[in-house]
Symmetry: C2
Subunit: 200 residues, 2 copies
């Protein structure tokens, strides 16, 4: 069976960088945004839309047919969201069956649970995450500190909702992971070296 | 500044064994039950009594002096408990100042927070802990599975209460640790090798 490492991470904690560096050191595949691109191709929906669905709890909206039937039917938007999730599920399984790999986000720890993944969760205190986000903001992306704090909160809330929707598990709860790493005030490159030594 | 590693652990998770093996590999001091013995000597109270106090929230009982005074004074038992905690506090600081070391339990992560300890928390699922306890029960200690489950729960509740009494922190909450290790179904010797590689 392939070696699967999944990484859940708080926004701004450096989990993505940690995963990428670790994959380079271990010499195994790394999947993150690539998953969105592939699902977008398969479903012919925009990457932005797929991203919206694939890390948020899909909004379930039922049309109301008064006096017609007591049976509620999901509407087309709901079905479209479900098809994204279904493609994501299939794709994660395909990737994990293809080779050793690291997968960031997408509730992969739960989806691939039968393949016995090593489940990592990366987190940090708010100030550390804020500092990392400030240092790494892309040119043209000028969020104020207040806006950034709100974004951090919103993204993490969406991830938690998505995780709970898919798995009924509490996102970031230690009982669902093998190793939890606090990156507060730490250097991600050094941490990736330590983690490589732990896992090699 | 010395290198201080603190280990908080759920009962039966193998945290103590992990700490002892890690100290041997790193070649640094290891403190666990030794702390009880030393405090017992210093306070001239029995080891059993010191153990009771040093990992449980001290029972605060105030005598009621009706009609005498509105000022409540702690009773001798309370003062005795406080002297154990005070000795423990002093001893932990002495040990951490003496040399690099690993300290298991005793809320050392909080007491020594100014010395920037590396704070580990070790945990596992109930069935794994139960299995470990069954395998390691000492001759003469014949607890039924039901009794063992109760003991695990009671000990962890005491540790949590003690931690919250001393530090106002939630025991086992990931925000208070640098690394959390799930030992469910894992071999502690192998884990200690991995952890050594992570920390060396």
């Amino acid at each position: 069976m392939n070696r699967i490492i999944t990484i859940g991470r708080e926004f701004g904690s450096g989990g993505r960088e940690l995963g990428r560096r670790l994959s380079e050191k271990l010499g195994i595949a790394y999947y993150d945004k690539e998953i969105i691109t592939e699902i977008s191709k398969r479903t012919q929906l925009s990457e932005e839309y797929v991203h919206q669905v694939s890390e948020k709890r899909p909004l379930i909206s039922f049309p109301i047919h008064v006096g017609q039937s007591l049976l509620v039917t999901p509407d087309p938007v709901f079905q479209q969201n479900m098809s994204v999730l279904s493609e994501q599920y299939k794709l994660l399984t395909e990737l994990a069956e293809k080779s050793d790999c690291i997968i960031v986000g997408r509730c992969a720890d739960y989806v691939l649970r039968e393949m016995n993944p090593f489940r990592i969760f990366v987190y940090a205190d708010t100030e550390s995450k804020l500092k990392r986000c400030m240092e790494r903001s892309e040119p043209g992306e000028h969020l104020t500190e207040k806006e950034l704090r709100k974004k951090m909160k919103d993204v993490d809330r969406s991830r938690a909702q998505y995780c709970e929707f898919c798995s009924q598990q509490k996102w970031g709860d230690k009982s669902y992971y093998d190793l939890l790493i606090n990156t507060s005030g730490k250097n991600i490159k050094q941490l990736s070296n330590s983690l490589y030594e732990y896992l090699k």
